[in-house]
Subunit: 255 residues, 2 copies
């Protein structure tokens, strides 16, 4: 057998607490999730490996099910990578699944369904036990109104109003499969699933739905914000710590 025939592509599902990372992507002199994964995989295999990530989450954003792939000649079975890598990774990153995928599988060049949650807690003062994973708001918003507003976002729309002006995306049309607001204990959680998201899109959606919950405008106004195609029409980009990438599903690979 030649080298190529021993090569396999491994998919990792990765969970991380984004608080102490400068985001997913490798950067010089800054701690990144990708950097920690590369280091652990290189240590384990002895190969010069750089993973390909599905979603380059920003600094402070968390992940429960982000995805990374890499190629290796290592004889270690794919499902054992999870255990071996977890012995080398720091406490704020974990591999929650490892499996082999087709050699041409690329997590950014194929259809996927991404699900994000944005979490709020209501408190007059900072809650040290929630501050890392939720965004503090002073007053309880009307979650029924927020949920009504969220429904206007579902479907295929031009989300230009919900996109940071610093985007390099070719088109700002995206398709949302679902958007809903629920109460989780005392917390309030926005959950959105879609085929892809623009830069800062979920954080701007969160800021806009919060404006609705605070009765700055009616739920129906979301239609006008979408139609206006103007970033200044939507609400603020909320802070990253409330945001978690929950899962990425790939319909074309068997799960």
């Amino acid at each position: 057998m030649n080298e190529e025939s021993n090569k396999k592509r491994i998919l990792l599902r990765v969970a991380y607490d984004g608080t102490d990372f400068h985001g997913w992507q490798v950067q010089p002199n800054a701690r990144s999730v990708e950097g920690e994964l590369n280091k652990a995989i290189q240590e384990m295999t002895g190969e010069e490996i750089s993973v390909i990530g599905a979603s380059r989450t920003d600094a402070g954003v968390h992940g429960i099910g982000n995805v990374a792939v890499f190629d290796t000649l290592s004889p270690i079975p794919a499902d054992k990578f999870m255990y071996a890598l977890n012995t080398k990774l720091p406490e704020d990153v974990s591999v929650v699944e490892s499996r082999e995928v087709a050699a041409d599988f690329h997590p950014r060049h194929c259809d996927s369904i991404k699900t994000y949650e944005y979490r709020f807690y209501v408190s007059e003062v900072n809650n040290p036990l929630k501050r890392r994973n939720a965004y503090r708001i002073q007053y309880r918003p009307d979650t029924k109104l927020m949920n009504e507003a969220a429904a206007y976002l579902v479907g295929e729309h031009d989300f230009k109003s919900f996109c940071s002006v610093h985007t390099s995306a070719e088109t700002t049309v995206r398709k949302l499969y679902s958007a809903a607001v629920r109460e989780d204990g005392d917390d309030i959680v926005i959950r959105v699933s879609g085929a892809g998201f623009l830069y800062n899109m979920v954080r701007i959606i969160a800021g806009t739905l919060l404006d609705v919950g605070n009765k700055k405008y009616e739920p129906e106004h979301i239609k006008g914000i979408l139609e206006g195609c103007d970033r200044t029409l939507a609400g603020p980009t909320l802070e990253p710590q409330g945001l978690t990438l929950i899962s990425i599903e790939f319909p074309d690979i068997t799960n």
Copy 2:
């Protein structure tokens, strides 16, 4: 008016993420919750103040409602201390209430009801988003059995079996008002309330109830452990990060 008549005793309710502290109590060259409070109060009042804490939680243990008191000559109204101190405290400590109490109120020398929770999450691997505030277990225990076992702990008992051998307590008799196990989403939470707790008592209760949930012994066996008055009969002292001091109520002061 003389100085004494301007003096008032302030009670603070304090929340903290215990992860990055060497516990509540001031120690040389180590970060403590008490030390951060003293520093913030001194900065604010210009007085040499050391708070008196109600419960000296261990390193890694969290608080939502621990209590501290101090005396001050500051003219700032008692309820404003909360806001002023929160501008000076680090992110992992917050004052959630401040109020005046009687000059002779001492949080350790009066009757109180303390409530603690010990939280578990079930996962084959470390969860970076839960690791700081919950203890990981590999298999889901039987919470119904755990709850049955917890009921045997309620009431006045000699808790010698549930006390670290390093205790200096004069008596190991304590009174538990309630002990119950519930599921909170995917997590499992033990909640206990009592008039006082021995050193490591809640963490040993958690280890023992987990043993019951894992069917090491029957719920009824708790009776034998209590009667034996021997630390080696009970389960292990579980790690601190699962433990949170939820509240301390003082029946003799108006709340």
